[in-house]
Amino acid sequence: MKRRLFLKSAMAGSAVATAIGAGLLAPRAVMANSDAFKAISSKMDAAAASAGKGSFTFKAPKIAENGAVVPMTVDASGMADVSNISILVKENGTPLCCSFNMTGANGEVSTRVKMGKTSAVTALVTAGGATSAVTQEVKVTIGGCGG
């Protein structure tokens, strides 16, 4: 199942590459992220869709002050054996922002993320082999004069 999903997205990636080569697609429509990264993104996106609600904290602002710098914190330090923490912004071209594979580090991460527009944002935590998610909406508004 996962393999098929991966293959599918990898193929989609190469189709896009061909399209650019043929001049069918403007480069603007294509995210800079590599095919390998997009594959992880698709995998995580699929995992998020079927994941149950997580019992960890996900802190992100309800309204982003500046879409270019949205601070987010995932704190799953209360969970045992956290092996991965990922953050997905649904409306971004490639939803996956970043994926952290823990091989000894504790289950908590803070970072700052870019968001193009208002979107559901999901934090995905894999602990003890089980994946769970917390989703919330982050509004991105267009600024006026900067206060």
Binding site: A32, F37, V70, L96, C98, T103, G104, A105, N106, T111
Partner: protein, 98 residues
Amino acid sequence: MSIKLKPRARNGNIDIKLLIKHPMETGLRKSKGKLVPANHITDMTVAVNGTTVMKADIGSAVSKDPYFKFSTPGNKGDEVTVSYNDNKGKSGSASKKA
């Protein structure tokens, strides 16, 4: 590109704050009508005393001058090392004792 690394030991854990100076261009932004080529970090590794404790896949949606905060089991004097690669083949690393 420089890395600002701040490890701090506390109660058997090391809190690690780090900031990598990097433009994190998505390849979608226009400047003076032209697209700015993609230039972003693709992966990052954090090690304590030479043992990898975290490996991250980083996309172009991480903000300019990426900032991360983690924690890992460890003690004062442990050496924390961070290294990264970007899509242009450049890499960087920094080490500091907690």
